[in-house]
């Protein structure tokens, strides 16, 4: 086939900003809320998710009958390179490894993710009420992506040429499951700034899953998302760098990491739901700065502050960067004290990425 090829993966010519702006406007936000309600009805769930209480669907028969009802309740399925979900059940909680490295990586990654939420934050699974952790692997042919479908994380095998299997990075597994936590809590609308925050929550907690699993303090971690995902032919180390957004890859074929690390460089675009995977670099860097300034393990003080805001009662689904910044400063002050090292570090971190918290501080 002959195509008129414009160089692949070139940075977006910045489209009219109107789309991205209206996406976070109140009218659109209200429309989004209404469609959320509709979607919940379509899925046969209650339209309103109360925080920290279970709205999980009842387990289907194949998800019952674990020996001793062990926790977590992991369910790994195999799509067999098709795109029909959920796929064939290959491993349940407590069962022996399958021998399929992808299925077993998913199983182990779900376990490490469960452990972070359970042991660091006292949260029982994605909904706070022990919902099974569901994954489908071997989705599609050469599929170079992973996503959260509202119920499960879905992983492609990569094309083998530029991308390895997507279960290879523990933080990507944590990233997808964090979408489930966000959906059950702040439910940040997946567009514009609230969408970039949604993405950033997934990078933050995905990275914390890996840091905790490796026993790395904030100053020991690489703060990369998706390390190991690229094959050797790609000039890059990972998909994103939380420490230095925009530096993760620079490759003649797949392009250059487009992430900004400062509000001045916020990208207005109609693509990618308003650049949610691009502008997440800004809050990602703020978290890295806060965690490294506080020191110690990032999942402890800094992670606890971010987790409390994400799952708290104050955040709204259309939260923007400045409001989120203010909520984290307020949380750090409430938890560690006004003028504490933690509160000071969080406020300074946001200032370094160009954000002045948007609520009056007490």
């Amino acid at each position: 086939m002959r195509c008129t090829i414009i160089p692949p993966y070139v940075l977006a010519r910045l489209a009219d900003a109107a789309d991205a702006r209206t996406a976070t406007g109140s009218t659109t936000a209200e429309a989004a809320r209404q469609t959320l309600v509709l979607d919940e009805r379509l899925r046969g769930r209650r339209p309103h998710r109360s925080r920290e209480t279970s709205t999980a669907p009842r387990p289907t028969p194949d998800e019952q009958g674990d020996p001793g009802d062990q926790q977590p309740r992991r369910r790994i399925r195999d799509a067999g390179t098709g795109t029909d979900l959920p796929g064939r059940l290959v491993r349940r909680e407590g069962e022996a490894p399958t021998g399929d490295v992808t299925a077993d990586e998913a199983y182990d990654g779900l376990g490490a993710t469960h452990d972070l939420y359970d042991e660091a934050y006292g949260r029982d699974s994605l909904d706070g009420a022990g919902v099974p952790l569901r994954a489908t692997v071997h989705y599609g042919v050469d599929y170079s992506n992973a996503f959260w479908d509202g119920t499960r994380m879905v992983f492609g095998d990569g094309d083998g040429e530029y991308f390895n299997r997507f279960t290879i990075s523990l933080d990507i597994i944590g990233h997808e499951l964090a979408h489930g936590v966000t959906e059950n809590t702040a439910d940040l609308i997946y567009a514009g700034q609230s969408g970039a925050l949604n993405e950033s929550m997934s990078d933050v907690f995905g990275s914390l899953v890996r840091q905790r699993n490796l026993g790395q303090a904030a100053d020991e971690a690489d703060w990369l998302i998706g390390a190991g995902l690229f094959t050797a032919r790609v000039q890059g180390t990972a998909l994103r760098s939380m420490r230095a957004p925009g530096t993760a890859y620079d490759d003649p074929v797949i392009g250059t990491d487009p992430q900004p690390g400062h509000l001045d460089d916020y990208v207005e675009t109609s693509e990618d739901n308003g650049g949610v995977h691009i502008n997440s670099g800004i809050p990602n860097r703020a978290f890295h700065l806060a965690a490294t300034a506080i020191g110690g393990n990032a999942w402890e003080a800094a992670g606890t502050i971010w987790y409390a805001v994400l799952t708290g009662d104050t955040i709204s689904s259309d939260c923007d960067f400045a409001t989120f910044a203010a909520l984290t400063v307020a949380e750090a002050s409430a938890r560690f004290g006004d003028g504490s090292a933690e509160a000071t570090a969080v406020a300074a971190a946001w200032a370094q990425v160009g954000l002045v918290p948007a609520m009056a501080q007490p």
């Binding site: 992506n145 996503f147 074929v253």
Partner: protein, 96 residues
């Protein structure tokens, strides 16, 4: 080149990788079977008038499809598309 030549611009964004790919497919330059698949895509209501997604799929791909000669300019999530179109679009934006 006639003005109504069918050039289809395919832009894929989103996905957990956050990488953008843009290609233009010339329907006069692809083999007849593939051209037929593109014509089916261009004629499909699921493409021309995609339903407003009930809820965005986090890390799902988003396609922007434009064809001036066919008066098409839409944004559609991968999960809203039938399998045949997904396969066609995925092939079009393959790296390399």
């Amino acid at each position: 080149m006639s003005l109504d030549r069918l050039l289809v611009s395919v832009t894929r964004s989103g996905g957990v990788t956050g990488m953008r790919v843009q290609r233009t497919v010339d329907l006069d330059a692809v083999d007849p079977d593939e051209a037929a698949a593109w014509r089916r895509l261009l004629a499909d209501d699921a493409v021309r008038r995609p339903a407003t997604p009930a809820r965005a799929v986090p890390d799902g791909y988003v396609y922007q499809l434009a064809c001036a000669a066919d008066d098409l300019d839409v944004t559609v999530a991968e999960q809203q598309l039938p399998a045949e179109h997904r396969t066609l679009l995925a092939r079009a934006v393959r790296p390399g």
